[in-house]
């Protein structure tokens, strides 16, 4: 027996049983297609105030339910309960995170907002990149569905974020996918890797969107909670920006795209609120949505044609909470009222009840507001693309969202109470007591041996570069199309993905996503800032000027005060960091309850920084190619191995993450951007996980060109040993290769700005090796084999 209040179409007898279970009085039974079906109307709700409702099963707390009754002045109808329950879920309402997220708006200066055309709160933020062009981008999570049903969960994650971008009026031009899995050798990891990677490729490739970057991380903390985040970038002219609101009394409301089916019902409220422990409930598999990329591709083209022809007044994609979300958000952002006839919704499954139709998360659907004069033009475009549509109702000025079922009122609410006035919690939080102990347990105090001889160091570099997190991700990224649309100037494995926006001028953008869960576990405030710093550094390393931030905050349960403290600290760190770097948060997403069996994931704030290029032809790749170019290390190396990839390889996690100096990050960024703009450098790569050892290996492998490296002066200047020089993860560092003719200019630039720089070697096209003078020589073939062999070994 279903736990839902208005479960499916049934025979009369079954319907009566259902009523009995919920104490209904079957006084409103409709005949549809020869079968019987109960309708809980507003009138019925008024007449039967004491009917018990399954608010708890739908994810509402008792006080939340009581608040709904207070707002309505009566018990909600089944349909209203469905709407409130999904819209007030953590996923849709941000009820636990709101009080903290406010800082992203508060810690913003006027100067930071000067390029911001649309900020937090809309489907996605919009940034002015000049010449009349605007870019919208956003990152979102689809973690829980992807664990249950990896292919469809990941696929619809791409679909959802792409629809957010379309609804801003933009053409989607690129996607990126930061992924985090459990241990690489755990039996369940292959199921998730195969399904999730194929799902992202299967959907994104079919939409014709180049996949230009992301991350693949393995850590056992993500075993029961893989993180599948999806970022999309869209491009538009300034005048094409569209917002989600329903204005203009008498304008028509239309639902178009795929038909509404039973998939994803309750997904938003159920999936994102509970763990997957075996608690005796039925499997939740059907709650995951199923994607149809072809329908979405057609939807993209048909929406762009709608925008071009100016036939829609407002538009909203249907994602989590489906029609509940779209109607209540459109109405409350516009003139405040809307009247909808729900039987007009085209159904894939005719047995769906009103509540299910309102909650359905069927993919590839959009809702638009169209003036009566434009109805014919709208229909012509739908017909051209063979897209189905149905007119559901119109915009009113009543301040009420009225939804009828065959003329009978089943929803009568103030849409703001559904969309914007949900519960807000200032949940208790406190610093975990265990943290002091963890921070005191440094890598240097551990029993792990430090490689010191040439042979030991060579083996260490090979081990690092073959390790799950540092190995080549080609096996994943080669399953994504990076060429389609013909504007990809950089993609994996370079520091950031770079897309040309204007084919005439070369104007374009760079995007990178980064996070380090271990750093954030050791210090949430600083860890979040380190993620921001790395993303900022990556974008600047390619030569782009950082402009904006989108974040996807993946954490455990907010009901655990220690997790809540991690969240609060990370948000505070991120907001402070953005203020110091002078780039605003334009939007993002929060994913809570990423925990299984009471154990939460590492706090994982994934940060996506977007930067701007005057001309993408200036982009700097992450590998050197020209013989004889000088190799410089920018920045200072300290003994900072706590939380590092090397410590991780030795099973150690303790101490404090590397020190952070955002002023130094900003300065390094400026130097890298200038060097790119003035043609001083031909290659640049930031130092992050795996330190200098990983950076040099990546740079040599990028184009298969070796180098001769000497680190004696670095060790002497910075007072570190060779092992530390290679594996420390000190921040604000990068390696660049400089043409001989530019060396003086480059050095003068760094000296003038007081930024540490030191020549550590020379590019050598003859010697097919990374040659560390007097220490060891690492043949590129051996390095490449180690680097590229890992993922195929586990997954091919």
């Amino acid at each position: 027996m279903s736990e839902r209040v208005d479960a499916r179409l049934e025979t009369a007898d079954e319907a009566k049983n259902e009523h009995a279970e919920f104490g209904y009085v079957a006084d409103a039974v409709e005949h549809i297609e020869g079968r019987k079906f109960n309708i809980d109307t507003v009138k019925h709700a008024e007449e039967t105030p004491d009917t018990p409702l399954p608010w708890a099963e739908l994810g509402l707390k008792e006080d939340e339910y009581n608040r709904v009754v207070e707002i309505l002045g009566r018990r909600p109808t089944a349909a209203e309960l469905a709407m409130y329950s999904v819209m007030w879920s953590e996923h849709c309402s941000y009820k636990s995170s709101k009080v903290h997220l406010r800082q992203f708006g508060e810690k913003v200066t006027e100067d930071m907002k000067k390029h911001l055309m649309v900020g937090i709160g809309e489907n996605a933020g919009v940034v002015d990149i000049g010449d009349g062009w605007a870019v919208t981008y956003k990152i979102e999570s689809h973690n829980h569905p992807s664990f249950v049903e990896p292919y469809q969960g990941a696929a619809t994650g791409v679909g959802g974020i792409v629809r957010d971008i379309i609804s801003m009026g933009a053409r989607p031009v690129a996607v990126m996918d930061p992924l985090r899995f459990g241990a690489i050798d755990h039996p369940d990891t292959a199921r998730l890797v195969h399904g999730i990677v194929a799902g992202i490729g299967g959907y994104g490739n079919s939409l014709g969107l180049p996949n230009i970057g992301g991350e693949v991380v393995f850590d056992s903390v993500y075993q029961g909670n893989p993180l599948v985040n999806a970022l999309a970038v869209g491009v538009m002219r300034h005048e094409d920006i569209r917002l989600a609101n329903a204005s203009g009394v008498g304008n028509k409301v239309v639902l178009f795209g795929a038909r509404t089916g039973g998939d994803g019902i309750g997904g938003a409220s159920v999936l994102a609120s509970e763990s997957f422990e075996d608690d005796g409930k039925p499997a939740k598999r059907p709650a995951v949505q199923v994607g149809d990329p072809f329908a979405e591709k057609v939807l993209i083209e048909c929406c762009l044609e709608l925008f071009k022809s100016s036939v829609v007044e407002g538009i909203q994609d249907l994602g989590a909470a489906g029609i509940s979300c779209a109607t209540s958000e459109l109405a409350s952002n516009g003139d405040g009222g809307m009247h909808v006839e729900l039987t007009s919704v085209l159904l894939r499954d005719p047995s769906l009840t009103p509540g299910e139709i309102l909650m359905s998360e069927s993919q590839e659907r959009m809702m638009a507001v169209v003036t009566p004069e434009n109805v014919a033009a709208f229909e012509a475009i739908m017909d051209k693309w063979n897209v189905e549509y149905s007119w559901l109702g119109e915009v009113t000025d009543t301040g009420r969202l009225i939804i009828e079922w065959d003329g009978e009122k089943i929803v009568d609410v103030d849409p703001r109470t559904v969309a914007h006035e949900g519960p807000v919690y200032d949940r208790p939080y406190h610093r975990p007591e265990w943290l002091d102990g963890v921070q005191a347990d440094t890598f240097n105090s551990s029993a792990a041996e430090r490689p010191s001889s040439g042979e030991e160091l060579k083996a260490a570099v090979l081990e690092l570069m073959a390790s799950p997190n540092m190995c080549s991700k080609d096996w994943v990224t080669n399953q994504y199309d990076r060429y389609v649309q013909g504007n990809t100037a950089l993609a994996m494995p370079d520091d950031a993905g770079v897309i040309r926006v204007d084919e005439e001028t070369g104007l374009g953008v760079a995007v990178s996503t980064d996070a380090n869960g271990r750093y954030t576990y050791l210090d949430p405030y600083q860890g979040a800032q380190l993620a921001l710093a790395e993303s900022y550094r990556n974008v600047a390393t390619t030569g782009a000027v950082p402009m904006a931030v989108s974040d996807c905050l993946n954490f455990g349960s907010p009901e655990d005060p220690e997790v809540m403290w991690q969240f609060a600290e990370a948000v505070r760190g991120l907001a402070d960091g953005c203020q110091e770097l002078g780039i605003p948060v334009t939007g993002g997403n929060v994913s809570l309850y990423n925990q299984t069996g009471g154990v939460a994931i590492h706090p994982t704030p994934v940060v996506g920084v977007l930067g701007r290029f005057d001309d993408v032809a200036r982009r700097t790749p992450s590998g050197w190619r020209e013989d004889g170019q000088a190799i410089y290390l920018m920045g200072v190396t300290k003994d900072e191995l706590d939380g590092s990839e090397w410590a991780n390889l030795r099973g150690h996690l303790g101490g404090k993450p590397p020190a952070l100096d955002l002023a130094a990050e900003k300065l390094l960024g400026e130097l890298l951007i200038n060097a790119s703009r003035d043609g001083m450098i031909d290659a640049a790569h930031d130092l992050s996980e795996g330190g200098l050892a990983a950076a040099l290996s990546d740079m040599a492998l990028r184009f298969g060109v070796g180098a001769r490296i000497g680190l004696g002066e670095v060790c002497e200047r910075d007072g570190v040993d060779l092992f530390t020089a290679l594996f420390s993860e000190s921040q604000a560092r990068a390696v660049v290769s400089v043409a001989r003719s530019e060396e003086v200019r480059f050095k003068d630039m760094c000296s003038a700005r007081g930024f540490a720089h030191i020549r550590i070697g020379v590019v050598d096209t003859e010697n097919q090796a990374l040659d560390f003078q007097d220490q060891f020589s690492l043949p590129l073939a051996e390095l490449k084999e180690a680097h590229e062999g890992t993922l195929p070994k586990y997954f091919a």
Partner: protein, 257 residues
């Protein structure tokens, strides 16, 4: 026949005298690389003309490109539905009269479904979507689409597909080989299990060519592969695919004189 140096900047050549040649690029609802194919035509110096699958008019174009994508979602079989599109009837008729037709990736699949080319495409033997810079050998330089290359020369162009394994019965394969209708062959790596390393074929007349990899993604320096079969190139500087488009444009212009 001169060999075009396929290295360096092939930005639009306004004085090339090819702009009078009009190449139609067909868009189905799920076509993805149509704008890329149009860009390739423009960069090669020709004029690109958008054609809509539901129309009945080829707009008098001199040649047709059926670009890559998932024409109708391809849940049934790649290209299986699109061959019935109204415009495809025009293409089939015109091809019999000698109209040059190039099917790239999904377009190749459409051409086999339309029986303009023999054989069929099935899922890659490794079952994954694969995107890589692929080396090909131009086996036949006598077709409408390959005359700018020397026979036996090699090119590097991106490959990206899920259903790229070319299959046909032995008799058909022998015929294709015997008649010189294997136009492109995979070199170094067979990326999908295609029979006899076949990457592209032509009809008997040589005006209809199907090719699995994507030459339209190797036409503009900075946005192509990092390598070329013709020597070292800058980052993203591979433009080896451009010759496909200049071949047909020159043939059209020469035929018009």
């Amino acid at each position: 026949m001169t060999e075009t140096p396929l290295i360096g900047d092939f930005s639009p050549m306004p004085d090339s005298g090819l702009s009078g040649a009009r190449i139609g690029v067909i868009t189905f609802p799920g076509t993805l690389d149509d704008r890329d194919a149009s860009r390739a035509v423009r960069i090669a110096g020709g004029t690109a003309v958008s054609l809509w699958h539901g129309d009945h008019d080829l707009k008098g174009v001199d040649a047709v490109v059926i670009p890559g994508g998932f024409s109708y979602g391809d849940y049934l079989r790649a290209g299986a539905i699109s061959r019935f599109a109204p415009l495809m009837e025009q293409v089939i008729d015109a091809s019999k009269g000698g109209l040059p037709v190039l099917g790239i990736c999904n377009g190749f699949q459409v051409l086999t479904e339309a029986h303009l080319l023999p054989g069929s495409m099935i899922k890659n033997n490794h079952l994954h979507f694969l995107c890589r810079d692929q080396r090909l050998r131009v086996e036949n330089s006598d077709t409408a689409w390959t005359s700018e290359y020397a026979a036996g020369s090699e090119i590097v162009v991106p490959l990206k597909n899920q259903d790229g394994q070319y299959v046909a019965d032995e008799k058909t394969l022998d015929e294709l080989e015997g008649e010189g209708r294997v136009v492109f062959r995979y070199v170094d790596v067979n990326p999908n299990g295609s029979r006899r390393d076949i990457a592209g074929i032509s009809n008997a007349a040589g005006n209809v060519v199907g090719l699995m990899p994507h030459p339209e993604h190797a036409v503009e320096a900075g946005f192509g592969p990092d390598s070329s079969a013709f020597g070292d190139v800058e980052l993203g500087g591979g433009t080896d695919g451009l010759g496909i488009f200049t071949s047909v444009l020159k043939k059209i212009v020469a035929g018009a004189k």
